[in-house]
């Protein structure tokens, strides 16, 4: 099996991508959205003509509402980001944007989140992350509860977790990139996407590992790496096919779906892709590598 033969190349690709993602995370950083830090977002669309951004910006600055930013959206609209607003401040911003109702506009959406709600959401997100991770680890432990030779069970589990981290880190890395260049922000959907990737991509690895252990038990091939190769051969088509169907719908969500779920769908697509990649090109080669190290030690 060529994947096992060239395992070091594939493992290197994965390592390179993970390292790149981590670098991107540190260089670009994650922009936290108002969901978590609190603040307000006002989206308006002008009916006839959109005033110049610079004019509106200076007019908004003059309101003294703290840091405030305005960016164009669509052909006729703007999004104003500010601290969380009360009724009076909100009305004031709308008045400023419409230049005392001289420029007709429609408020498409308004979202103001107080700092305490943001804190609560952050707390909830952290708890959800911890619980989902625990749930998945328990699930992995359960899936690999039977002892097997020559590589012991917990090593399968560990490798499954390593490849899972790989599947989540790469989309997050991509997101920091999108965050830097397209202004995507970390919101609740970002967290949901990361957690859903955990749930979706772990199964591929487990199914392939199950195949390997089934083949080991039945002594299908002589050596360990041949068995792994054979198992990969038997399962890679189905692995790719099952992910492919999900990626198909995700892509249609990226290109045709609502704007609010666009980045969410992009993250999931990337996560699904690398989830499948890691189950075939990372997890199984790592397993062979671990077995080789074990042999050398003896």
């Amino acid at each position: 099996m060529f994947i096992i033969k060239h395992k070091k190349i594939f493992i290197s690709i994965s390592i390179a991508l993970v390292v790149l993602s981590i670098i991107s995370l540190f260089v670009f950083g994650l922009k936290v959205g108002i969901d978590f830090k609190g603040g307000a977002l006002t989206e308006v669309v002008y009916k006839d003509a959109r005033p110049a951004q610079a004019d509106l910006h200076s007019a908004l600055q003059a309101l003294n509402l703290g840091s405030i930013s305005i960016q164009p959206t669509g052909d006729m609209g703007y999004i104003v980001k500010s601290i969380d607003l009360n009724e009076a401040e909100h009305t004031l911003i709308l008045k400023t944007l419409s230049n005392n109702e001289k420029n007709v506009l429609e408020e498409k959406s308004f979202n103001s989140i107080g700092p305490s709600v943001g804190k609560e959401l952050t707390r909830k997100a952290i708890i959800a992350i911890i619980l989902v991770s625990l749930g998945i680890i328990l699930f992995i432990a359960f899936a690999f509860r039977k002892v097997s030779k020559p590589v012991s069970s917990w090593r399968y589990g560990l490798i499954a977790i390593v490849s899972l981290l790989h599947d989540v880190i790469i989309p997050i890395g991509l997101f920091t990139f999108l965050s830097h260049f397209y202004g995507a922000e970390v919101d609740t959907l970002f967290v949901v996407a990361a957690l859903t990737i955990l749930g979706l991509s772990v199964s591929d690895t487990i199914v392939i590992f199950d195949r390997i252990r089934e083949n080991l038990k039945n002594k299908v091939e002589m050596s360990f790496n041949e068995t792994v190769g054979k198992s990969l051969e038997q399962s890679y088509v189905r692995s790719i096919c099952t992910s492919f169907t999900v990626i198909l719908v995700l892509l249609s969500l990226v290109f045709f779906g609502p704007t609010s779920t666009k980045y969410f769908a992009i993250m999931l697509t990337v996560g699904m892709f690398f989830g499948t990649y890691s189950s075939i090109f990372l997890a199984s080669p790592l397993l062979v590598l671990v077995e080789e190290w074990q042999k050398k030690k003896k």
């Binding site: 979202n111 107080g114 609560e120 619980l131 989902v132 249609s252």
Partner: protein, 453 residues
């Protein structure tokens, strides 16, 4: 064999029936919607605020003055009051929910108010804010510190708020308010009637404060400061606050629609314009249809005859899940639609796993019907494993989620569960009912997949 085929036909008919229900109950699809039966009319999709447009308000309830054992009681009372208030204004299907201040949400009692169709936040918050907060306060002990300020004109001002201390008695113990007129002066008054607990509390307060002032506060300001002459055990009180008849009448109306048992403050607000929601719905439906077509195309091209069966069972799955969305009902949000769309991809996973196994069994020399039945039983473990991790994630997200996350977790989780059922049972019944095509070359070609012959 005949039995299996009959079963297949029955399932197909049931599927069509369910799909027909979805079609008939959707005003945009059914031209004769207006004339159709009420059964269909009562089951539209329930759209979340981000799709229908409307306001989403989060209030913090200040329960610091409520004894800890009664927090949930007064929160329930608060919800009922706000619900009545919102209903008075004729909003369709408002949702007023309590969010308990447990460990997860950080200890604050919150009230979430969803107002579909109301896109004017100012108006919405005004609607809720108008609710009066009625409090009864007693004189502070004499030795309590008081601050007096002397203003420019040499007038001494004593801060009223420090003169009085709160009591447990509040608007939540009010049974009803009535408009009364003083028999001598014809001055309008507001009569208050307390419920049982309120009566007891009021009796206690009046007993302990004979000769002193009991101040009645409305919305944080004293409106009446009568001196208690004797203990009042009848549970009735009067507010005579120099009202005009109209003012008194309004106050009675407001008090009867419910006085707030605890003070609330607005924490966050969200409004989504109707056009934005409409666009999101259109985009979601479009993405779902295109996604479905992609999958159908892939399944038929790659898996041939089993692929067609998988598409049929996917259609039945869609009909079932949409019906569940309508009947439960599930509130659909943009994220929820995304969850549903992803579930389309996951739903065929089980089929793919089964078909791949069947193919393997065929390669190892089994005849088609044997391959189908062993393929099914062997694929079960993979199907269970690959779905359980998604279900774990969905369940945890649902428990801890905000409405947004909940919408996604619910549609995804339901999708995974229902699709397991539909893929395994429906596909199995259909696949085993088409074995009449025999073992010929054509049959084996139809049951193969991919680029193999």
């Amino acid at each position: 064999m005949i039995k299996k085929r009959i079963l297949a036909v029955v399932i197909l008919l049931l599927g069509i029936g369910v799909a027909f229900f979805v079609f008939k109950s959707e005003p945009k699809l059914n031209i004769n919607y207006e004339s159709s039966g009420s059964f269909f009319k009562h089951s539209p999709f329930r759209l979340g605020l981000d799709l229908s447009g409307g306001s989403h308000l989060i209030y913090k309830a200040d329960v610091s003055g409520v004894p800890s054992g009664q927090v949930s009681d007064s929160m329930n009372a608060l919800r009922d009051v706000i619900e009545r208030r919102v209903n008075l204004f004729g909003v369709s299907e408002p949702v007023v929910q309590i969010q308990e201040g447990g460990f997860v949400s950080g200890g604050e009692e919150k009230l979430i108010v969803d107002l579909p169709g109301v896109t004017d936040v100012e108006k919405a918050t005004a609607m809720i804010g108008q609710t009066p907060l009625l409090e009864f306060k007693t004189e502070a002990p004499k030795d309590a510190p008081k601050t007096a300020t002397v203003d420019e004109n040499g007038k001494v001002n004593i801060d009223m708020s420090q003169q009085f201390v709160s009591t447990e008695l509040s608007g939540r113990y009010l049974k009803k308010a009535i408009l009364e007129f003083d028999q001598n002066t014809r001055e309008p008054k507001v009569g208050l009637q307390f419920d049982d607990t309120g009566t007891k509390l009021f009796a206690e307060i009046t007993k302990n404060n004979v000769g002193k002032i009991v101040a009645i506060y409305l919305d944080g300001a004293p409106i009446s400061t009568p001196v208690v002459r004797e203990e009042i055990t009848g549970g009735e009180a009067q507010i005579s606050g120099n009202f005009t008849p109209t003012e008194a009448k309004q106050l009675v109306g407001r008090l009867n629609s419910g006085a707030l048992p605890v003070p609330i403050s607005l924490l966050s607000k969200q409004t989504i314009g109707a056009s934005l929601g409409d666009n999101a719905v259109h985009a979601g439906v479009k993405a779902a249809i295109i996604g479905f077509l992609f999958i159908a195309l892939f399944l038929i091209l790659w898996y041939r005859l089993p692929g067609i069966i998988a598409v049929i069972s996917l259609c039945i799955y869609i009909a079932i899940i949409l019906t569940l969305f309508k009947l439960l009902p599930v509130t659909l949000t943009a994220a929820g639609i995304a969850g549903f769309i992803i579930s389309l991809g996951i739903a065929v996973d089980a089929n793919v796993l089964i078909f791949e196994r069947v193919k393997e069994e065929m390669r190892s020399g089994r005849i088609i019907s044997d391959a189908v039945s062993t393929g099914f039983s062997r694929a079960w473990f993979s199907i269970r494993d690959s779905n359980s991790s998604s279900i774990i994630t969905a369940v945890i997200l649902f428990w801890f989620g905000t409405p947004l996350i909940k919408g996604f977790a619910l549609t995804l989780g339901m999708g995974v569960l229902v699709s397991m059922l539909s893929a395994i049972t429906i596909t199995k019944i259909f696949l085993s009912s088409v074995n009449f095509i025999g073992e010929g070359k054509v049959a084996r070609f139809l049951f193969s997949s991919g680029i193999s012959k």
